[in-house]
Symmetry: C2
Subunit: 465 residues, 2 copies
């Protein structure tokens, strides 16, 4: 594991707060080593920094209560959803209280006529979609993991559908949140747009719990399209695949998903998911629309693909075949780990203007090869976002150093291409130095906002800034 | 005119700052009464509060220079685009310097492959679209007025296309801004999505110049669709028209525009634009897509409209007829004023969940009738946003009082329906009491952010908060 800086602990404050909360929450406050460790754990190479206690609130009022106790004793509060974040977001570098929101999992309202719903933060995206299915609605954001919607909002998550439906920032209408002083606010209501004051909704989305705890989320929903079809197409090179993506976006084809798997990823998918895809770069697509609309999109894409040397273009609209293909895409993390059993997977997350994508992906492949790293690539290429999964033996210091070099080099390269070091994973602990490189002077104003709203730095300290 | 509260003036600071800036900017700083008055003027019923001087910078560096001088002497800075805002946004209640950005009107880059561009804040939306046309691209946000893109970002503008393309918050990738201390920041780069830190882009969008001056905007562009067609359909009642809108949105028909004109607005349009529309509530629509896609959308809408008693459903894809229809829509403000020559038009801007829209519009019609006010209504009904244009004799105190009653009553009603007092016009001076009603405790955190970034309250004081 890579070390994360520890912050000064407020021992006496923590002891008092844990005592007070234990009295109030009884068995819903846990201090066992295993549960604490589990709440510091994330799918990351950063060392675990466990909280001192984990508390399971059932209501906004209880969250406010917890935050007020922690505020009174200047004790860190770390919101926890499902623990699927990747940059140490739920670590507790100064100790404190992990607030596990998984038991706040009620769908409070579904307004079919308005295409919106109101949920508690612990509802997962899969649970919500299961609940919505009978009503002909769905929530499109799909980061892969079955994350909680509160966590997805907090990290400004996106994933495979973002090319058409946007990210969490585009699909949250408003929030209820407990602020660092324990006050409960609403950032808006259910209007589909508003120009009423500062956009606190978007400020909290992506703030990674450092400005408050999200306790209720009003989400935009979409009608399940009449037709959903999938396609796949193989390309001779990553460059050819990226050219096809760029042309698809320029043509305005409203693709619902357009995903790249590089050659190494295709090999991994074939082995893990029992497929027999040609082992060259692959695009996986999904089209949403009316029957004829989805068919037309697929046809137009087919023509574009042909222009760039695409081959083996296959479409399918049966649910079973479609699910098999997308299951393989979702399983890419596990499939890739099988390329090197026992290795730790370290995911990068750069996002660049699409015109620079081919160059950036190709350079990443070359750099990994040069460093001797096994590093399959998948990407949400309609947005210019891709993930290199470095497969690292963490007991080999030279490899770990190589991985650190690679991550830094790739982040710097994306920034130099007018891109970002994080398209969707967030800053957490791991990317803090790159945030400064990317946004420079702007980070001072982020820090000013943080100090103004959370003067004692109790909300998820050590993250982002 | 309705009076706006004046704020304490810093006379000596203003005198010094004007003197220093006059030396630096020469003829590009103006202090004549006419130009000062023009820069306090907005299309509003709020009295004019002129700035002490108007300065015309040509570069970000010059804007930073102006702000630094004003910061040193604690003098208000009021950014000015085209002066088409509606809630006293450019008034100078404490005097100070109006920064007119109209000469910062360069299109700095168009990246066709990435569907984005970089513009200075003084570029208007019409100028940008003229520039883009040859490249097959367009920028969709259309608030009606030919506003500057800087002003549109500052007020989180939207308009007729928002139902499909979103608002300014959805179409700005990143900003460059001069902050209250004169520092220049970038809030992001050209990646289509990012999870890098607090979303300062969205914080500045809609901040109405109270947190900084936007000096460069990176915008998302869209390909001009293969086919653009329009339709109109008359309905027996506002309720029937709204039901058709709701069903259209639920069906997921990706309408590019769906606008309501109530009976009184249709009469005004007939008279002003020489049309002969049936004088009942009307929906105007626009469809974007492939040839067959746009046709299919129109056909599906036609079926929905029929279900709700729609009649006289007419589609057109010739540019000339289409332009005539939309020109009439754009001219509604002037057409409505002709219903009562000499009257002042006062526009409301509520936005409610679509399921409440018919009820809200009908109640607004009834209330206006009850108060004896002439008040045609138009609406961006796909978003639940509509504007009542009160036609008021400002020399008649009883009428002005009635208008104030109406505005307050309507804002309260929208808020009670989980909506907002402003879908797109912003808070400015006029809606400050309603912001507090709408968002309550949240406004305290807006104030904390404002104080943190602008401790001397020099950036557009007296607006929003």
């Amino acid at each position: 594991m890579v070390q994360a800086a520890a912050l000064q602990r407020n021992e006496s404050g923590i002891e008092t707060a844990v005592g007070v909360l234990k009295q109030r929450f009884g068995d819903r406050l846990q201090t066992g080593a295993a549960i604490r460790e589990q709440h510091g754990h994330t799918t990351t190479w950063i060392e675990n920094q466990s909280p001192d206690a984990v508390v399971f609130p059932h209501s906004t009022e209880e969250v406010a209560n917890i935050v007020k106790v922690c505020a009174a004793h200047k004790v860190p509060v770390i919101p926890f959803g499902t623990g699927t974040s990747l940059e140490g977001h739920v670590n507790a570098p100064a100790g404190g209280i992990s607030v596990d929101l998984s038991q706040m999992d009620k769908i409070l309202a579904v307004n079919v006529g308005d295409l919106d719903c109101v949920v508690q933060p612990g509802v997962t995206r899969a649970d919500l979609n299961t609940h919505l299915r009978d009503q002909g609605l769905f929530f499109p954001i799909d980061p892969g993991a079955n994350a909680s919607l509160g966590g997805m909002a907090a990290t400004r998550a996106s994933g495979t559908n973002a090319v058409r439906y946007g990210t969490m920032k585009d699909n949250v209408l408003s929030l209820e949140a407990v602020m660092p002083d324990g006050q409960v606010i609403r950032t808006g209501h259910r209007a589909r747009k508003s120009s009423a004051g500062y956009d606190l909704t978007r400020l909290l989305i992506g703030a990674e719990g450092t400005l408050g705890i999200i306790t209720e989320i009003t989400l935009r929903l979409h009608g399940i399209p009449e037709a959903i079809s999938s396609a796949r197409c193989s390309f001779p090179t990553v460059d050819a695949a990226c050219q096809a993506v760029m042309m698809t976006i320029q043509y305005g084809i409203p693709v619902a998903r357009i995903e790249l798997l590089d050659q190494m990823s295709v090999k991994a998918a074939n082995a893990y998911s029992g497929l027999d895809l040609p082992e060259t770069p692959l695009l996986l697509l999904e089209f949403h629309g009316s029957d004829s609309g989805a068919a037309e999109q697929a046809e137009t894409f087919g023509q574009i693909a042909e222009e760039f040397g695409g081959s083996d273009f296959t479409t399918t609209s049966t649910t079973e075949e479609r699910n098999k293909l997308w299951q393989a895409r979702h399983d890419m993390y596990w499939a890739s780990l099988q390329l090197r059993p026992g290795a730790q997977g370290i995911s990068t997350d750069v996002c660049v203007p699409i015109s620079r994508l081919a160059e950036c992906v190709t350079a990443a492949q070359d750099k990994a090869a040069e460093l001797g790293l096994l590093a399959p690539i998948v990407g949400h290429v309609g947005d210019g976002n891709f993930h290199t999964l470095l497969l690292i033996d963490m007991d080999n210091p030279a490899e770990v150093a190589g991985a650190e070099d690679f991550v830094g080099w790739l982040n710097d390269m994306a920034i130099s291409m007018e891109g970002t070091c994080t398209g969707e994973h967030g800053i957490g602990q791991g990317k803090r130095p790159y945030l400064v490189k990317e946004l420079g002077a702007a980070t001072a104003y982020m820090a000013a906002i943080k100090s103004a709203l959370d003067p004692d730095n109790i909300m998820n300290p050590g993250k982002i800034l």
